[in-house]
């Protein structure tokens, strides 16, 4: 009896030991500091540099953020940091030659655990403008209706842009999660690409579809008046410039006015429509540097998913949309394209995300925020709206009725 009694005590104690060992010798947290240096090695020599940069230390896991301004040499030190995993962004702005230049760079998921760590952020410049995602309506409307998804692309610059050949796609993984893909690419540099599940391209020979400054185009999943098809839908897409029409299917009607997008890579297209997850995809628009080869796909290690690699240098704009605020630190889009993420936090409730207006020119043209950080650049709308803030409509769209 005594033997069993002692044995039981020993066993129970042993069970507890492992758990107790894991929490032994843990110290109290203390605030720490970190140093950041900004470099501009990738910037043209004749591009004017900002006088200083704003450096933000963001710890999503703690809801903690502090912001500091660099000195003239591009150095900054931040103290009072909570040890943790940070996204550090640097942004700056300069003007010259009649253009505004935006500088941005970031480090994602870096571990700042001890005081005095040094980091370097290489910023790159881009001229304000070019084509941007202005509004994305992805989460559908009441009654599990998702055929009213659309993408509005806006000319944020002060020069005419041609959208002929513009590609649009959503990257893999389809959902923001802790699942990560280790892509295997021929050149062995997976970090230089994004990996698209599907690619649609605007038709045209190079100058068929001009978009003037302040004008936008709509790419609809199905270019129909959805308010008539499904009363809960908030959008009439019959005036869309383009639609992602699947040829040889009879379920969804083809709008004879809207130009059909070209399905260049179809591994992420299933069924009768281009449905991108209503929980939030990660999207990119780009001009490919070569013709899309439908068989040019790659796979992640140990998986069967097929995706098309597009060089990051080809990307014009990218937006990461995640399910909700808690998923921002599980983003998929490289931070050089989007340092943050946006979200609606719901599905099938007509919400959308759209860019915030940065400024309005004297002639009434809006210039939207484009800092390559969707967390800052986008707002959440309770109801999606086609051509919000009255952008211009391309003159070649003769079927759009305001």
């Amino acid at each position: 009896m005594k033997k069993y009694f002692l044995l039981a005590i020993v066993l129970l104690t042993a069970l507890s030991c492992e758990q107790f060992k894991q929490v032994a010798d843990i110290v109290e947290v203390v605030p720490i500091s970190a140093n950041v240096k900004i470099s501009t090695s990738g910037t043209d020599a004749d591009t004017p540099l900002p006088a200083s940069y704003t450096v933000r230390f963001i710890n999503y896991g703690e809801n903690f953020e502090i912001s500091r301004t660099t000195d003239a040499s591009g150095n900054v030190s931040a103290d009072g940091l909570i040890p943790g995993v940070y996204t550090v962004t640097a942004t700056g702005e300069s003007a010259g030659g009649g253009f505004t230049y935006y500088f941005s760079g970031s480090l994602t998921n870096i571990n700042i655990l001890t005081s005095g760590q040094n980091f370097n952020i290489d910023v790159v410049s881009s001229r304000a403008g070019a084509l941007i995602f202005k509004e994305i309506y992805f989460n559908g409307s009441t009654g599990y209706y998702f055929k009213d998804q659309f993408y509005e692309i806006y000319n944020n610059s002060d020069a005419v842009q041609y959208v002929d050949g513009l590609g649009i796609g959503n990257i893999l993984p389809a959902l923001a999660s802790t699942t990560t893909y280790n892509w295997e690419v021929p050149d062995g540099k997976p970090e230089n690409y994004i990996y698209l599940a599907s690619i649609w391209q605007v038709p045209g020979d190079g100058n068929d579809f001009p978009v003037k400054p302040g004008e936008s185009i709509i790419i609809a999943q199905i270019a129909q008046n959805h308010t008539a098809i499904k009363p809960t839908s908030p959008v009439d897409l019959s005036g869309a410039e383009f639609e992602t029409f699947i040829v040889n299917q009879s379920v969804n009607p083809d709008n004879p006015n809207a130009h059909n997008m070209i399905l260049a890579f179809d591994k992420g297209v299933f069924g009768t429509q281009w449905l991108v997850t209503v929980f939030g995809g990660a999207y990119a628009i780009f001009f490919p540097d070569h013709e899309i080869d439908p068989n040019g796909w790659v796979k992640p290690q140990g998986r069967t998913n097929q995706a098309y690699p597009i060089p990051i240098d080809c990307v014009v704009d990218a937006v990461e949309i995640v399910n909700n605020a808690t998923k921002i630190n599980q983003k998929r889009m490289p931070t050089s394209l989007d340092a943050g993420a946006t979200y609606t936090g719901a599905t099938y409730n007509c919400n959308s995300v759209s860019r915030k207006i940065r400024e309005t020119t004297k002639d009434g043209r809006h210039i939207y925020m484009d800092t390559n950080n969707s967390t800052d650049d986008f707002q959440i709308n309770s109801v999606a709206m086609v051509r919000r803030n009255n952008p211009g409509v391309p003159s070649w769209n003769t079927w759009y009725k305001k």
Binding site: A8, Q22, N63, T178, Q330
Partner: protein, 542 residues
């Protein structure tokens, strides 16, 4: 779970049968008042040492009762809500051969209404900061099965006895409004013990081990609408969370291991009994969510040091008892810095650093004196007075926040046993007053106007730092059934009301930009609140 319940019920029925069978030898009527004073006198029974039960044994008895309990009113912590409980309870004590056994079992069916800021937990613990909370007014349905057994060997070689206390409980429940939960808690505690007797003196030692496991699945009935929630980290600090069909939080689980020990010294003279006990407990709880890819919410390390002194004097007509109890509890809240290891073969959260981020200290001291006018039916009357001192001080280290509530409470109470023939009516009164010494919440985090700070901590502070008074009345009518059994009907009611002063706090910023709380004395931000406690039960002793 069903199988487990069957085992519990079977064990309880077996135990009850044994105890009842053993108790048949007893001749005198077992009034509940007899059981009450028996327990007062059984000093070792009230300690952590079951072996000592052989030195101050309980009399032989069995009880069975069904009760309905209500706690309603605005004077409540936000997570506490209003409680309505159906309770079935049975207990018994008896010799088993030369050994002694005691056991009890209870089943509770609980409806908890008007609760906020607790999405998952069935048992709330102020020392567990890592919980999921939401701000929607909601309610829980819960069931609790709890069984405790104590056994003691006879005094072997007139020197030593061995004993053991085993407690097993299982709880299940669900929150009834999105974000809702599917919650289970189970735990087992084993306390083997030994006692050595040397004439009038005795000494004992107890080893304690507890293992508990809690499992909670957050979910929504409306899968199309994600529900915002907060992963609380203590003292008002939190990070946002979402309960949703995709991308939402996974199952939470809490893993508890506790080790401890206690030493006792006892003296037993002809009419005096003294028992002193010191104990120490070390407990670790790990909190994870999403078992397939575990993410550590945090851990707590708790150390409790306590002491207890019971002194009993049995005169010709009166029994006096003084009980002094005190303990100090310190809990460290540990948080982990985790990153995803994206290696194909791993794909797990790995912990790269861990720190103590918060601390929770609690001191509790109570002193109680009871006097009983002895009678054949237990006691003719009894009276008592007790005082309690409690001090809670929680700190979050970075960003710095703190919460303090320090109180003293005093109560007097008494009962009179009116005999009407063989029937007995026990009527009692109590009155108490709580005086708040200090109460403060300093929040230094990023969201001073958040619901967590405003609606949870501000309101809890108002409750925990209020002066209040309470009055109680209780009545029990006992009727003998046969030679020794009784049937009784009992009802009790207590009314608590907070004083207006010290019950109104607001939040502000001083000239140096530091956040602080001040007392709006008097003010109307929070209405002084009251709470009513009521209980009705019917039971048997046999």
């Amino acid at each position: 779970m069903k199988k487990m319940k069957k085992h519990i019920i079977a064990s309880v029925l077996a135990l009850s049968t044994i105890l009842v069978a053993q108790a048949q030898g007893s001749k005198s009527t077992i009034y509940p008042t007899v059981l009450e004073i028996n327990q007062v006198k059984a000093t070792w029974f009230n300690s952590n040492n079951a072996a000592g039960m052989i030195l101050t044994p309980l009399s032989d008895f069995g009880t069975l009762s069904v009760g309905y309990d209500m706690k309603v009113g605005a004077y409540r912590l936000q997570q506490e809500g209003d409680l309505k409980t159906l309770d079935i309870h049975t207990s018994g004590s008896s010799p088993l051969g030369r050994a002694r056994v005691w056991g009890e079992f209870s089943y509770q069916n609980i409806t908890q209404e008007n609760t906020k800021f607790n999405t998952l937990r069935l048992t709330l613990d102020p020392d567990m900061p890592y919980i999921l909370a939401d701000s929607r007014l909601s309610y829980f349905k819960k069931q609790v099965y709890d069984m405790t057994m104590k056994a003691a060997t006879p005094l072997l070689w007139d020197l030593v006895a061995f004993g053991v206390t085993v407690n097993y409980f299982t709880k299940s429940g669900a929150k009834q409004i999105d974000p809702r939960s599917d919650s289970y808690e189970y735990g087992i505690e084993v306390k083997p013990s030994a006692v050595f007797a040397f004439g009038n003196h005795s000494a004992g030692l107890t080893f304690m081990y507890k293992n508990a496991f809690d499992r909670y699945s957050p979910l929504n009935s409306n899968s199309q609408q994600d529900q915002p929630a907060f992963n609380l980290r203590g003292v008002g600090t939190y990070v946002d969370a979402v309960v949703g069909s995709f991308g939402g939080l996974g199952t939470y689980y809490y893993k508890t291991n506790r080790l401890g020990g206690a030493l006792q010294y006892g003296y037993q003279g002809s009419n005096i009994k003294v028992l002193a006990e010191g104990n120490y407990v070390y407990q670790v709880i790990d909190v994870f969510h999403t078992p397939a890819k575990p993410f550590r919410m945090g851990s707590t390390i708790q150390q409790v040091m306590g002491g207890n002194l019971q002194a009993l004097v049995e005169g010709d007509s009166f029994t006096h008892k003084v009980t002094l109890d005190g303990y100090k509890k310190h809990t460290d809240g540990i948080e982990y810095i985790q990153v995803i290891d994206a290696t194909y073969e791993v794909q797990q959260w790995i912990s790269i650093a861990k720190f103590i981020r918060s601390k929770y200290d609690f001191t509790g001291i109570s002193l109680k004196y009871d006097i009983f006018r002895d009678s054949r039916e237990g006691y003719d009357w009894m009276a008592g007075i007790q005082g309690q001192y409690t001090d809670r001080f929680d700190t979050y280290i970075l960003p710095e926040s703190s919460f303090k509530a320090e109180n003293v409470y005093g109560e007097i109470y008494g009962k009179k046993n009116f005999m009407v023939g063989n029937a007995s009516i026990v009527a009692g009164l109590s009155a108490g007053y709580n005086f708040n010494i200090a109460g403060e919440h300093n929040y230094g985090g990023p969201f001073p106007d958040s619901e967590v700070v405003r609606d949870l901590y501000e309101k809890d502070l108002a409750i925990l730092s209020a002066n209040y008074y309470q009055f109680g009345i209780n009545l029990k009518a006992i009727f003998p059934l046969g030679e020794k059994s009784t049937i009784y009907v009992a009802a009790s009611c207590k009314y608590l009301r907070a004083d207006e002063e010290l019950h109104n706090y607001s939040y502000g910023t001083d000239t140096e930009g530091k956040n602080f709380w001040w007392n709006l004395n008097p003010g109307n931000q929070l209405t002084p609140s009251a709470r009513t406690f009521a209980n009705f039960s019917i039971g048997f002793t046999f």
